[in-house]
């Protein structure tokens, strides 16, 4: 009797608490690598703190934030971040939709093509950036060489705001379009073909079918991709950093023309050693990312069948 009772109790205990045990590893890891650094950053952002000498740190509460909001270079970096967000996210999603549509056809060796689009994504970001920086080189870059063939002249890609943003955006788009295309492709294959057959009978052409059937049915994936792309593109660091290697890398160009918020954070933290200030940038950037991702969500949510 006592034995059964004990087993039953253990069973009840098991069903009650075991599920928490199963999900605990995620929360533990998130707590250590996600939540703790987040809270720690907020804590540091309230201090005047040198990167190397943490013993001399003292609380200044919101002074870092006050300074930040009055800092023209911070707003310049935020402006660049938003510009690059637009220039990367919108083409990424549109190109990915187009590529997914192409890959969804019955073509020979389509597995090869499908594998192929993910290749840019698995190459190292540093390697990609270094090669793109060479392609966009002022004197001996391939792109200027091609432009020259058409008599368009040389462009100093790094010097201008618009040109440098285009160059950096092209690196990001090249790297991530395939990834989103595969997500779209997977969902496209789940759309029942009867929908298209019915539409064909009603006389809808391919273009109409794409915009009226495919895109609306991909809405959840488009929302997902937009949010993923936003969180990635709002914290671009490696691309602008390596686009202009050398001692001045962290300033993102001679006039900070392509310094993103993440790069400004890097400059303040690791060149100027102002750990408190750079943490404040991190906090504001995180909030901005949430806002922009929310905007992206609101826009993509409006996709619907008429």
């Amino acid at each position: 009797m006592a034995l059964i009772d004990k087993t039953a109790r253990r069973h009840r205990w098991d069903t009650k608490f075991a599920p928490y045990g199963y999900v605990a590893p995620y929360f533990l890891i998130f707590g250590v690598f996600g939540l703790f650094p987040l809270l720690y950053t907020v804590w540091v952002s309230l201090q005047h703190r040198n990167l190397v000498e943490s013993a001399d740190a003292y609380f200044i509460w919101f002074s870092n934030y006050a300074q930040l909001f009055a800092d023209p270079y911070f707003w310049n970096a935020m402006g660049n971040t938003l510009s690059l967000w637009l220039l990367t996210t919108v083409p990424q999603i549109l190109f990915a939709l187009g590529i997914a549509q192409l890959l969804n056809r019955k073509v020979r060796t389509r597995t090869l093509f499908r594998m192929g689009v993910i290749l840019p994504n698995i190459t190292s970001v540093a390697a990609v950036t270094i090669i793109f920086a060479q392609l966009f080189g002022r004197d001996f870059g391939l792109i200027n060489w091609v432009l020259d063939l058409f008599g368009a002249g040389h462009i100093d890609w790094q010097a201008g705001t618009a040109t440098s943003h285009i160059a950096i955006a092209s690196m990001v788009v090249w790297r991530w379009t395939g990834y989103h295309a595969l997500i779209f492709l997977a969902s496209m294959q789940a759309i029942p073909s009867s929908l298209y057959e019915a539409a064909t009978l009603d006389g809808a052409n391919g273009r109409q079918q794409f915009w009226r059937i495919t895109v609306p049915l991909l809405r959840p994936q488009i929302i997902f991709s937009t949010i993923i792309a936003t969180t990635g593109n709002m914290r671009l660091l490696a691309e602008p950093l390596l686009f202009n290697p050398g001692a001045a890398a962290a300033t993102g160009g001679s006039d900070r023309q392509f310094q993103t918020a993440a790069l400004y954070l890097y400059e303040q933290g690791f060149s100027k050693w102002d750990f408190g200030y750079s943490s404040a940038i991190a906090v504001v950037l995180a909030i901005a990312t949430i806002i922009v991702a929310g905007l992206g969500y609101l826009v993509t949510k409006r996709i619907r069948t008429e």
């Binding site: 040198n50 004197d139 300033t251 690791f270």
Partner: protein
């Protein structure tokens, strides 16, 4: 009960793996020393030599780019983890690091005070903290000279012989005037100098006062000497004398390969870079002569020993050996780095040394003369940072984004923030 036991076993195993992963200092009874460098210190042969005479020591060197190296070092010191046993620090950064001397071994407590007289007095003081702790042993000093392409000068109707070339430019004004003459006959795509920031750094290095005064106040905004240099270089840039390449970038490296410029400001360590970048096919085309204005310094480094290292004593021993007179003499011959040891400036082995890559230029005589004349300039806490900012400012002029005056004003505003 069994799953629980297994779990404990796993945890123990995992812990063991992690721990052993962290304490991999000794492999096969050898002490492993790591040394973090940037650019070319010319240490490859020396490290082999040291390892062969010290069989209990295994040395691993890792080299990063100039700015990556210093940023990583700051991050490693901040977290107290990941720094090499010996870390090189450049003149531009040493003041920033010596402001936190407790992160480094005070070499004065490890026999450094006995070795003090080896070095130039200003080199020794350069890495000495305000409270008298020595964070690094000096490796090289920059000195200043001009490296130039004999063939390009000759083709443009200028002399190629190094004494005659030196006579062309007693001052920087003369240097720019010679450049204008050169540019009239220069082939398409070839400019007089590599980039404004490089020239400007040399002029700044010669000034009696640099970016800071001795109380660590930033005074560059009122520094007439530097402003005059700025105006001169900006004028040279606007006259089309510049290839508009920022030093130590990949495009600048390509510039050497492609022969895009005829002259480059040459601290002694620059010779190693030119040789690496221009490659064997340019051997004999480059030559070295004295710098306009005379004297001056740009760069030079120190070897520090971060306190967090596990083999501090052995690292100190190695750092002292690498910076000892005999080794600095060897590095001068192999990589061209100018010793920071005044005794060597009269050593015939150094003074008579001619560099075969640079058309047998008497670099021994040239650089030791320059080093003797050198009037050390006080470097403030963020000199390296300001150097980056003034380079950016000159680049804005080169890229046509701003005129000289506007860019200067923005630069002064930036650094005084």
């Amino acid at each position: 009960m069994r799953p629980k036991a297994l779990a404990i076993g796993c945890a123990a195993l995992a812990t063991a793996v992690v721990l052993s992963g962290c304490s991999g200092t000794a492999s096969g009874g050898k002490t492993k020393l790591t040394i973090g460098l940037f650019g070319n210190f010319g240490y490859a042969e020396l490290l082999k030599e040291y390892a062969s005479t010290h069989p209990d020591i295994e040395i691993q060197d890792r080299t990063a780019s100039y700015s990556d190296h210093h940023k990583n070092l700051a991050a490693h010191l901040a977290t107290g983890n990941g720094a090499a046993d010996i870390e090189a620090v450049d003149t531009g950064y040493v003041n920033q690091f010596k402001a936190t001397p407790d992160k480094f071994v005070d070499l004065n407590t490890k026999g450094g005070d006995q070795l003090k007289d080896r070095w130039l007095a200003w080199k020794w003081e350069g890495s000495l903290s305000k409270d008298g702790k020595q964070i690094g042993y000096g490796t090289d000093v920059g000195g200043l000279a001009i490296c130039y392409r004999r063939d390009l000068l000759q083709n443009a109707g200028l002399p190629a012989d190094r004494d005659q070339v030196a006579a062309l430019w007693p001052t920087w004004q003369d240097f720019m005037a010679a450049g204008k003459k050169f540019q009239e006959k220069a082939p398409e795509g070839v400019k007089w100098f590599d980039g404004g920031p490089t020239v400007l750094n040399a002029i700044v290095g010669q000034a009696s006062v640099g970016y800071y005064d001795k109380s660590d106040k930033i005074v560059v905004g009122d520094n007439k000497e530097i402003k005059a240099g700025w105006d001169l270089v900006a004028d040279g840039v606007q006259s089309g004398l510049s290839s508009k390449l920022l030093y130590s970038t990949p495009v600048w490296n390509t510039g050497f390969k492609q022969g895009q410029f005829a002259t480059v400001t040459c601290p002694a360590w620059q010779m190693a870079k030119i040789k690496d970048q221009a490659g064997p096919e340019a051997a004999g085309k480059w030559d070295v002569t004295s710098v306009p204005g005379g004297g001056g310094n740009w760069g030079g480094s120190y070897l520090t020993v971060p306190k967090a290292g596990k083999n501090v004593d052995k690292a100190v021993e190695l750092a002292a050996w690498l910076t000892a007179p005999e080794q600095q003499a060897k590095v001068f011959k192999s990589a061209g780095l100018l010793p920071s040891i005044p005794k060597l400036y009269d050593d015939p082995a150094i003074v008579d040394y001619k560099n075969p890559y640079f058309n047998d230029a008497p670099v021994g005589k040239l650089f030791t003369d320059a080093a003797k004349k050198l009037n050390p300039q006080y470097q403030g806490p963020k000199a390296g940072d300001i150097q980056t900012a003034i380079g950016n400012a000159m680049q804005r002029v080169e890229q046509g984004k701003q005129n000289g005056e506007d860019s200067w004003r923005q630069f002064v505003g930036d650094v005084q923030k």
